[in-house]
């Protein structure tokens, strides 16, 4: 696999974040926070009228992008900060840029700055990742 510092990672896009998937994840996580499934509760908090995607899902989109690029077992390290909410119906794009190519524990790995941007261009997740790549 050809990889070089400065290389842009292929984008992973979702045209519309789904409220149904938020409800599904809330059930899996047993997460009682109503901002993920009740628009009235979102409105009461002054956050608009659309439910809010879970942080894990926003980071999950970044892992989808990394796995599409480097393979389903590529992930070695991920550190992330959540910088803004993603709302039902918004589009999102996950991508990143290679910052280093090196050897670690006998395998070739790539360090990347990665992120998830909302349709309006604002950043929802800021992260750094290390993935294993084939030689």
């Amino acid at each position: 696999m050809d990889v070089s510092v400065g290389q842009r990672l292929p984008e992973w896009k979702l045209d519309s974040v789904s409220a149904e998937r938020m409800r599904l994840l809330a059930a899996i996580l047993r997460d009682p926070n109503p901002i993920h499934w009740d628009p009235d509760e979102v409105a009461k908090r002054g956050l608009g009228h659309r439910v809010i995607n879970q942080g894990p899902t926003n980071l999950g989109y970044i892992t989808n992008m990394l796995m599409d690029w480097a393979g389903p077992s590529c992930l070695r390290h991920l550190e992330a900060r959540f910088t803004s909410n993603v709302f039902e119906g918004e589009s999102v794009v996950a991508t990143g840029v290679v910052t280093a190519v090196r050897m670690q524990n006998g395998e070739r790995v790539v360090d990347c700055d990665v992120w998830l941007d909302r349709g309006d261009g604002s950043r929802a997740v800021d992260a750094r990742a290390t993935v294993a790549v084939s030689a």
Binding site: R21, L25, I28, L29, P32, R45, Y61, L75, L78, E79
Partner: protein, 149 residues
């Protein structure tokens, strides 16, 4: 006015171990989690890495609400996700049972310019494959608890 919980009370959490336990990645749940992540199911029995969000906490025997209570959260609006750090040595696999152990690391109280007083609580959970006890992953999470003043 001072917050209802003191920094000394919060610092008592540092080093406090979680109960510990196991978590099995079930095929049906992985299928639903992949759907929630807008992902195809992964090949070769691999589980979606998003399991690292909830499996470690569930495996040590805690729900989100337990952490919020231990950290004296004032309301669900006074909780923010901080940083998430994952170290992955082996990918998680469907059908495997993982043994989880962990503890609170530390608590730092800060004054934010906009958010005001807050406690940043960090905890770590190690994920071992129960079959061979190999360490397959470790997660360090921080959560932010806003304090009214």
């Amino acid at each position: 006015m001072t917050p209802t919980v003191t920094i000394e009370q919060m610092r008592e959490l540092a080093g406090r171990p979680f109960p510990g336990g196991t978590f099995t990645i079930e095929r049906w749940e992985n299928a639903l989690l992949c759907d929630a992540m807008a992902s195809e199911r992964l090949p070769d029995g691999l589980a979606h890495p998003a399991y690292l969000f909830h499996a470690p906490l569930a495996g040590v025997g805690l729900k989100y609400g337990d952490i919020f209570e231990l950290c004296h959260a004032e309301s669900d609006e006074a909780i923010r996700a901080g940083e998430y750090v994952w170290e992955v040595h082996e990918p998680l696999r469907v059908g495997h049972t993982y043994r989880m152990s962990g503890s609170f690391i530390d608590v730092v109280r800060k004054e934010g310019r906009r958010a005001g007083l807050m406690d940043i609580v960090r905890f770590r959970i190690d994920v071992h494959d129960q079959a061979d006890d190999a360490l397959v992953a470790a997660v360090v999470n921080s959560w932010i608890f806003l304090r009214s003043t």
